[in-house]
């Protein structure tokens, strides 16, 4: 990665010293010289009052020169000479080794766009054309989870950012850095009237301030350089989060100002060490864990990297403690006997010590909510025994904001450590090893043996459950997962997004590498999976050797179907297998629930599910949709016997470097 901290060389070109702001300063001075002072106005008014009682203005009317200065159209600016401001901006971006900028083109960043492709050579970052800003952000979301590197997205600061907001919220909740840049033309007096003015705002960042970690609106090129590097640094410090920079069109289009030509520099980026849990709290947590009879480890977004997964395995093996993987990331290999996710309720209910690592919702981990109470309030019930000790390591508390409620319900903990779990695990593991007494080791080994048996029993139950409705049409989600796995199990696969298919891939596939599973959307906003999968597949392509597969929900795809074109246009190899249950299934059940609660029969209209929740009549032909955008495609597949051969052909297409989509009619979940 290029890291510069040298003063930028000034341009040898010495052109007219014209800048828009200096021009405006001249106008201001001129105005001041021709404006009547307040005292003059008072004196004049007093004199006129003495001469005539008629009502007069309190100040003199502006003369022609003054009126022209205030209301006239400014002269055409002289062609500025000198290095372009947006070229310098691209130089700044290039120091951070950002591979791509995902964007739908827009006039408010036209200068930056032109500099990217002409001054920057359209390399690092390369401009990827997106058909919707939601796609731009989600591609960065998926790319980071596959590679650990952030992408940039560019959008109109108003209408484009409005499109992007849901995807930014997803990234925020999922703790993923995306560098968001919004174009805006701040100068109300000189920007183009009409649409460009409609597309400008005083403070575009306000739209996403509640769910970005930091934002700024630079007013000079040096300010931009500092802010861009700062934004990158903040986004990449755990907890990772999106950041936002407002990019003034005037600043992009102006040449470098005279006083900056000799002084501009690009700050050096140095990563910030992630925050770690307090050492004394770690020791106390280790003491509780080492002495627990039935400790349980719960992990959500704990393993940020492959090393995080290795550390979690080491902690679990040291304690011989079961791990419940809430799957925000690939935390624990599902082939390890200590991965006891399938026994969550029993383990939580019997635990005497629970440690939660980067849990998105600690309350719901140890409490139950049943959406079936009187008056729609629901039933709340604890899942743990009285006296169970609760420990947490979580970095979310370091960036909690007020408005959006992604911080979930409040849960009191016995030991609550603010810090990044992955960064804190080495110290915790060492502390646990030190706290385990010799008389505890035999008990731990015995616990481990019982967990091995429970794991084996659970594996058999999983297979038995998968076999039910094996020949069903529409195809069962278990069969769908098993058929896909049969085609990719010998490849270094990466499941880059997964629809709600009852967790079958996590239950049936061997998942042992960090990139085998990338987790979900975070904010549960529809429109994530399709573009995030494409972004992740792009990252996997760049890393090389990985095969990207997505189980794509039908409702989700219809938010951003244009993302398919981006994948085809940029030759991003991805196998998308549709989980086409022809409905917004979560909502199907919600409406049914409310109808029952009110003792009414839910109206179905012409569909299978309550009015407004189906995606049928007409059925969407996803294979044709994908084909129209340059995909290889097949389907809809309704007969389970046809699925395997079709997937085999699709895998071959993807291995040749193209995206492919197979539409499959499936059971609801």
């Amino acid at each position: 990665m290029a890291r510069k901290d040298t003063r930028r060389q000034g341009s040898a070109v010495k052109g007219p010293d014209v800048s828009r702001r200096k021009f405006m300063a001249g106008v201001a001075l001129t105005g001041a010289a021709t404006t009547v002072s307040a005292q003059d106005a008072v004196n004049a008014a007093a004199a006129e009052t003495a001469a005539t009682p008629a009502r007069r203005p309190s100040a003199r009317r502006p003369d022609a020169r003054m009126a022209a200065a205030e209301t006239g159209t400014p002269k055409e600016l002289a062609k500025a000479v000198g290095p372009d401001g947006s070229d310098f901006m691209v130089d700044v971006v290039k120091t951070l080794d950002i591979a791509y900028v995902c964007s739908n083109p827009a006039s408010s960043f036209r200068a930056f766009h032109e500099s990217l492709i002409d001054h920057g050579g359209n390399k690092k970052p390369e401009f990827l054309t997106c058909t919707h800003e939601e796609t731009s952000v989600a591609m960065g979301h998926g790319y980071f989870k596959a590679t650990g590197k952030p992408l940039m997205m560019l959008c109109h600061g108003t209408v484009g950012l409005q499109h992007a907001t849901m995807a930014i919220y997803n990234a925020w909740v999922d703790r993923v850095p995306v560098i968001c840049i919004g174009g805006t033309d701040l100068d109300a007096a000189y920007r183009a009237p009409g649409v460009p003015t409609i597309h400008s705002a005083q403070d575009i960042n306000a739209l996403v301030r509640d769910y970005t970690k930091w934002d700024d609106q630079p007013v000079s090129l040096q300010h931009f350089a500092q802010s861009f590097v700062r934004a990158y640094k903040i986004a990449m410090t755990p907890p990772h989060e999106p950041v936002m920079i407002a990019l003034d069109l005037g600043l992009q289009q102006e040449p470098v100002r005279a006083h900056e030509r000799e002084t501009l520099y690009i700050p050096k980026y140095v990563p910030t060490a992630p925050p770690q849990a307090d050492a004394n709290a770690v020791k106390e947590a280790a003491r509780l864990l080492a002495n627990a009879e039935r400790p349980v480890i719960v992990a959500d977004r704990a393993a940020r990297t492959p090393n995080g997964m290795r550390l979690l395995v080491e902690l679990a093996e040291t304690l011989q403690a079961p791990v419940i993987d809430q799957r925000g990331r690939m935390n624990m290999p599902n082939t390890h006997y200590l991965n006891q996710t399938g026994r969550t309720a029993a383990l939580i209910g019997n635990a005497d010590v629970i440690i939660g690592l980067e849990l998105g919702d600690y309350w719901a981990t140890v409490n139950g909510f049943v959406d079936n109470g009187h008056d729609g309030i629901g039933l709340n019930e604890t899942r743990i025994k009285p006296g169970t000790k609760l420990i947490g390591i979580n970095s979310t508390g370091l960036v909690t904001k007020s408005n959006y409620q992604d911080f979930q319900r409040f849960q009191s903990l016995d030991i609550d450590m603010a810090g990044d779990a992955e960064a804190s695990l080495p110290a915790l593991i060492e502390a646990v090893k030190a706290a385990i007494s010799s008389d505890r080791r035999a008990a731990m080994e015995k616990r481990g043996e019982a967990l091995k048996k429970a794991y084996a029993d659970g594996h058999q139950r999983t297979k038995a459950a998968a076999a039910v409705a094996w020949e069903a049409s529409p195809i069962s989600t278990a069969r769908l997962a098993a058929e896909i796995y049969a085609q990719i199990k010998d490849l270094d696969y990466s499941l880059v997004s997964s629809a709600n298919v009852s967790g079958w891939p996590n239950r049936l596939w061997r998942m042992e590498k960090h990139h085998n599973w990338l987790g979900g959307s975070g904010g549960a906003g529809q429109g994530y999976s399709a573009p995030a999968a494409i972004g992740a597949a792009l990252g996997n392509r760049d890393i090389g050797g990985r095969f990207s597969v997505s189980i794509q929900a039908d409702g989700d795809l219809m938010y951003t179907p244009g993302s398919l074109w981006t994948a085809a246009r940029h030759k991003i190899p991805l196998l998308s297998v549709m989980h086409n249950n022809r409905g917004y299934h979560q909502e199907v059940m919600h409406v049914q629930r409310l109808a029952n609660r009110r003792n009414r029969v839910a109206a179905l209209g012409m569909d299978r599910s309550p009015i407004g929740t189906s995606i049928e009549n007409p059925d969407i032909d996803y294979a044709t949709l994908a084909k129209s955008m340059g995909y290889w495609s097949a389907g809809p597949i309704k007969d389970p016997a046809e699925l395997g051969p079709t997937l085999k052909r699709a895998v071959q297409v993807v291995q040749s470097g193209q995206p492919a989509l197979v539409d499959v009619w499936t059971q609801p979940r």
Binding site: N372, Q460, A467, E471, T477, H585, M589, N596, R597, R669
Partner: protein
């Protein structure tokens, strides 16, 4: 006297169970499949009652009818209760008949894809 009351109670219960069973046996699996779809059971339990993340497995080999019926009418768990006003006894019996008609699937040990 006490033992006689108990005997009468047991007889009534037995008659009731026979009645339930008779009603379930007399019910139509074909109608039950339609009712299973119409009343939205498939939404959480799948078209063949196989279950999933949103609902338990109902078939094959469903739980006893009276247990199922009591649960359907009175549940305060994740599944919303279905009163008689929205799901008649006849429809519920037909649904049970449909669940009973769903055959056992293949032995998971015999499915290569589940033993990869």
């Amino acid at each position: 006297m006490k033992s006689r009351s108990v005997a009468i109670g047991l007889a009534a219960l037995a008659a009731s169970l026979v009645s339930w069973q008779a009603s379930a046996v007399a019910a139509s699996a074909e109608n039950g499949k339609a009712a299973f779809l119409r009343h939205g059971c498939w939404q959480c339990h799948g078209y063949q009652g196989q279950g999933g993340i949103a609902g338990l497995r109902l078939a094959p080999n469903p739980i006893p009818f009276e247990t199922l019926s009591n649960f359907v009418r009175t549940t305060n768990r994740a599944m919303p209760p279905f009163s008689k006003a929205i799901l008649s006894d006849e429809d519920l019996a037909d649904i049970y008949a449909y669940l009973q008609s769903i055959p056992n699937g293949p032995d998971p040990g015999s499915i290569p894809l589940l033993n990869q």
